[in-house]
């Protein structure tokens, strides 16, 4: 088989050579035979004639030779393609409409598919990435679904879970890198020694981390990414190994360089440091101090399954419960460790949106296909006579079928090519919708896979489009077709029904898209109208990184804070300035436990996780957070280390439903401690949306003085009198004045942060709106085409009726009634589809029911308006048919 294909390919490749060689071979045969005959005494002229005669028909032999090489079908294909191209060129209006439709709809599909391909379908860029898993601790009853993993988890599980061949712990972080005077903030990852072997990609030169380097003090080693090496070291690989790099003011030894393109998930880390810890951090007491910053990944052993790993971890957790001092509390909190495939977990949040968008694009393509099928049906009707004649002259059914398929496929392939161009443009435009911020979003690219999908899609579409047409062409008896055409009679009833069914389908599908868009738009509107709990206008924020070397102890950090607050507060145009460790909507959604003194857990209730903030200066005034009771925390509280705190309304309502929050006492962490450790509640403030505007969970929040809530993160929040952006430079200058080595990053207005946080709602709503607009346009074209054709077909009938005295109004109404019937059928089907879609979209909706009557009514209205508009023109044309002209033409 393979040999035959190769031989066929060779023949196709050098078709001209093949033909030439064949002629030459056959001719020389005849000549040689003729020579032999001459030698035997036959006169030369006679010899040539006899040679030719005995050889038989040269053309026939050549055909047989071509057939022996399987060239026949290809010759036929080329012929049919030429024929199809000629036919398409003859009707430019139809061809251009069809090509544009295909280009837009295939382009939309390819664009979305490119995203799905790189985000959902392609494995992560590690060898055998399907075996990579992640796991996290979950305390659902404490309101903490996901809490990372602890150092203890790592040391307990390492080499003790047989399903894993390798297990590794990592956390993200930041350092100030470089020599004094030329420092910059760098994202880093701290990783356990197995990290690179778990992923399957390690340093190309040098080595990975060793076990010794996981002890604090012995961890001054660093592995560079290729990018960092290129940007910061102007010398060869091996000369860099062993060099010192100053991080947070401390010299680190470079021990390895990672291969180009190495990137772990969305991490922007350029430097990898060992994950070091102290022995006390590895004990059972710390088993549950995960926090979202520390994460575990593992590689499944060949043959091991996810559920085996899950079972083994569960068993180990049960076993460890015996030594766990907090076992009872954790069991109450519903503690469990969940193992998930790394890739699926990484893309889980965007998966539904992407699938929804692809479904939307596919519906759009379906509308386009139905549209084209209808236009093609109208077109084929005009050619049924031609087909009938050819069938009568001996064209086989197979030939008619293959010709139809070739014609539609030529069309869809051309459309697919244009669609590829549109898709390439679409992929570029995707950044507008924030696609590059998706997991693996930077990998989205136009490539061969996409071209292949476009090609296959176009071929499938071409064949699908050909089927109804071929069916009609073959089902009509040639004799009938010739006669009916000759009499100029009406088209077959079935064909008309099919056309109408197509219009109904189009209307229904557009309806589904419209209502889906409506639901998303309404969700966006609701999300936008949610109060974030702070006044976002006139607020500028920036992240400050204090180098660990200079600011190792808390007093020095607090001194810096005080200086900073004073310096910025002095600037003109600043009305309030505060500091916080955890900015709302910044993506940091970690929760930590707080224990209210005297709160007795009800059966089944557990200690809860809350958002915890450390604030300094006039944070609440700067953010514009409302005070409900008592007072705000002040810079003074932080300075003096007052053990006071402020809670939000959700927190107050949960623990003190009777409204006596002020004066109550609570502890940081889980479990009560000595009274000296307690914080007194001095105020209650309004709720703030920390994770997202659409996050409805009443998580509760506690604000501590910054000095008592130790954290590496520091954001400055400035309320401006005029535009906040104008303060950006002021902010940087102020920080530089205090310490030129301290960088300020991510300077953004709070409005921008709010805006960005809505991207997950806005982008799908915008994209589906675009899809809907195209769908409406296509549907109106389709309706117009079919109605217009119906009018044209019945010209004669209408003319006669008008001649007999029918009112033009009546004629118009008749066609409008037909249109209305189609619209109503379509809308009815559409409502059913919209109901299904709404159910499927449930997880993406915000404060909108899956079936929303106003949205349905709006969609129906939109649909009816556009479709009726499309019907108006043909109906009026029908009413204007002149009886005299018609009768004359019927003559």
């Amino acid at each position: 088989m393979l040999k035959r294909l190769r031989s066929l390919l060779r023949a196709l490749q050098s078709r001209r050579d093949f033909e030439q060689g064949m002629s030459e071979e056959l001719e020389s045969h005849i000549e040689q035979y003729a020579q032999d005959l001459t030698r035997a005494g036959v006169p030369p002229q006679e010899a040539m004639r006899r040679a030719r005669m005995e050889f038989g028909g040269l053309n026939g032999v050549q055909e047989e030779c071509r057939a022996a090489r399987w060239l026949h079908p290809f010759d036929e294909l080329v012929r049919q393609t030429r024929h199809a191209a000629r036919l398409l060129r003859k009707s430019p209006g139809f061809t251009i409409t069809a090509l544009l439709t295909l280009a837009v709809c295939l382009g939309a599909n390819l664009t979305i598919f490119a995203v799905i391909d790189s985000v959902l379908l392609r494995p992560l860029p590690f060898p055998d990435a399907g075996r990579l898993v992640t796991m996290f601790n979950s305390y659902p009853k404490a309101g903490v679904e996901r809490d990372g993993s602890s150092i203890t988890n790592y040391y307990e599980r390492r080499a003790r879970i047989p399903a894993f061949s390798s297990l590794s712990l990592y956390r993200y972080g930041k350092v100030i890198a470089g020599e004094t005077g030329s420092t910059e903030r760098q994202q880093i990852m701290r990783v356990s020694p197995e990290f690179f072997s778990t992923l399957g990609i390690g340093p190309v030169v040098g080595r990975g981390f060793t076990e010794e380097e996981t002890s604090v003090g012995a961890d001054r080693v660093v592995i560079l990414t290729d990018t960092y090496w290129k940007q910061h070291f102007n010398r060869g690989y091996n000369q860099v190994i062993g060099k010192k790099l100053r991080l947070d003011g401390v010299p680190y030894t470079v021990i390895g360089i990672l291969p180009p393109g190495f990137r772990f998930l969305s991490s922007k880390a350029q430097l990898y440091l060992p994950f070091s810890s102290r022995p006390e951090e590895r004990g059972p007491r710390e088993m549950h101090s995960g926090g979202n910053s520390k994460q575990l990944i593992a590689r499944l052993r060949p043959g091991a399954t996810l559920s085996q790993a899950q079972t083994q971890i569960d068993a180990q957790n049960n076993l460890l419960e015996r030594d766990d001092p907090q076992a009872k509390m954790m069991a109450d909190a519903g503690f469990r460790t969940v193992v998930k495939p790394l890739h699926a977990d990484y893309v889980a949040s965007v998966r539904p949106v992407l699938l929804l968008l692809q479904a939307g694009a596919l519906i759009l393509l379906l509308i386009a296909a139905v549209n084209l099928a209808n236009l093609l049906l109208i077109r084929i009707n005009g050619r049924s006579k031609e087909i009938a004649v050819r069938q009568a002259l001996g064209a086989s059914r197979l030939q008619v079928l293959s010709e139809t398929i070739v014609e539609t496929t030529v069309l869809t392939l051309a459309g697919g090519f244009l669609g590829l161009i549109a898709g390439a443009a679409g992929i570029r435009a995707l950044t507008i919708f924030g696609a590059d911020r998706l997991p693996q979003g930077s990998q989205i690219a136009f490539d061969g896979r996409l071209a292949l999908v476009a090609f296959l899609g176009a071929v499938v579409l071409g064949i699908a489009l050909a089927l109804p047409i071929a069916w009609f062409a073959l089902r009509t008896e040639p004799a009938n077709a010739i006669q009916s055409q000759a009499r100029g009679g009406t088209a077959s009833h079935a064909m008309q029904s099919l056309r109408h069914a197509f219009v109904v389908a189009q209307i229904a599908l557009s309806f589904v898209l419209l209502s889906g868009t409506g639901l998303l738009a309404l969700s966006l509107k609701h999300a936008m109208s949610v109060s974030p709990g702070f006044r976002a206008d006139h607020v500028l924020t920036g992240q400050i990184s204090l180098p660990g070397g200079t600011y190792r102890d808390w007093p020095s950090r607090l001194a810096f804070n005080a200086e900073l607050l004073k310096e910025i507060g002095r600037q003109p145009g600043v009305s309030a300035v505060g500091l916080v460790n955890n900015l709302p909507l910044s993506g940091n959604n970690g929760k930590s436990a707080a224990t209210v003194k005297g709160h007795v857990l009800r059966p089944g209730e557990s200690a809860r996780g809350h958002y915890a903030y450390g604030v300094d200066g006039d944070y609440f005034a700067a953010m514009g957070i409302a005070l409900r009771e008592g007072r705000f925390l002040t810079a003074d509280d932080s300075r003096r280390g007052n053990r006071v705190c402020v809670v939000d309304e959700d927190f107050a309502r949960y623990y003190w439903p009777h409204g006596d929050a002020l004066g109550q006492r609570l502890f940081e962490g889980s479990g009560e401690a000595s009274d000296a450790q307690a914080f007194t509640v001095v105020g209650v403030v309004g709720n703030v949306k920390q994770a997202a505007l659409t996050d409805d969970a009443a998580q509760g929040a506690v604000y501590y003085p910054y000095a008592l809530r130790t954290d590496d993160n520091l954001s400055v929040v400035v309320r401006a009198i005029r535009s906040p952006e104008s303060l950006g430079l002021t902010l940087q200058r102020a920080v530089r004045q205090i310490d030129p080595q301290v960088p300020v990053n991510d300077i953004r207005s709070m409005d921008a942060l709010v805006d960005e946080s809505l991207a997950a709602q806005r982008s799908p709503a915008l994209l589906t709106a675009v899809f809907s607009a195209i769908a409406l346009l296509l549907t109106s074209i389709g309706t117009y085409g079919v109605l217009g054709y119906a009018v044209a077909l019945r010209r004669g009938e209408i003319g006669i009726r008008m001649a007999l005295g029918a009112q033009p109004r009546k004629i118009r109404e008749q066609f409008l009634a037909l249109a209305l019937r189609l619209i109503i059928f379509g809308a009815m089907l559409g409502i059913f589809g919209a109901w299904l879609t709404g159910q499927a979209m449930r997880s993406l909706l915000f404060h909108v029911p899956p079936v929303d009557p106003p949205v349905l009514a709006w969609s129906a209205g939109c649909m009816a308006f556009v479709s009726l508009l499309a019907c108006l023109l043909p109906s009026r044309r029908a009413a204007r048919i002149s009886p005299m002209e018609t009768l004359r033409s019927l003559g």
């Binding site: 030459e24 071979e25 020389s28 032999v61 047989e64 057939a67």
Partner: protein, 113 residues
């Protein structure tokens, strides 16, 4: 009776393979060679020779290559490939079995039943 025997269906391919196995040949040469080795008994219809050659080449049993003919003209020479050689062996064996069986059947006398 005609001294030329009619070609049995299916035997043309076998004969071509055999002819080509002896020495690389061009199309006309194949014709002459078959006539020669069959003791002038087998005449191949000229029109069906080339489709058969092309088919065998397509199947990879023979390989065609352009070369110089004895009277200095460009000609396509066919040689037997390894697959072709195996096929020829099989067909020869098959043919011999068949011929022996038929001969034995035809030579049967009433006494032998």
């Amino acid at each position: 009776m005609n001294k030329n025997a009619d070609l049995l269906p299916g035997t043309l391919d076998m004969l071509i393979l055999k002819a080509v196995s002896l020495k690389p040949l061009h199309g006309y040469g194949v014709l002459l060679r078959i006539r020669q080795i069959s003791g002038e008994a087998l005449e191949i219809p000229q029109g069906s020779l080339y489709p058969a050659l092309y088919r065998l080449e397509h199947q990879g049993l023979i390989a065609g290559e352009w070369g110089q003919s004895e009277n200095n003209r460009r000609a396509k020479y066919y040689t037997l490939t390894a697959t072709g050689r195996r096929r020829l062996r099989e067909e020869t064996a098959g043919w011999n079995r068949l011929a022996a069986a038929i001969a034995s059947a035809l030579n049967t006398t009433p006494e032998e039943i």
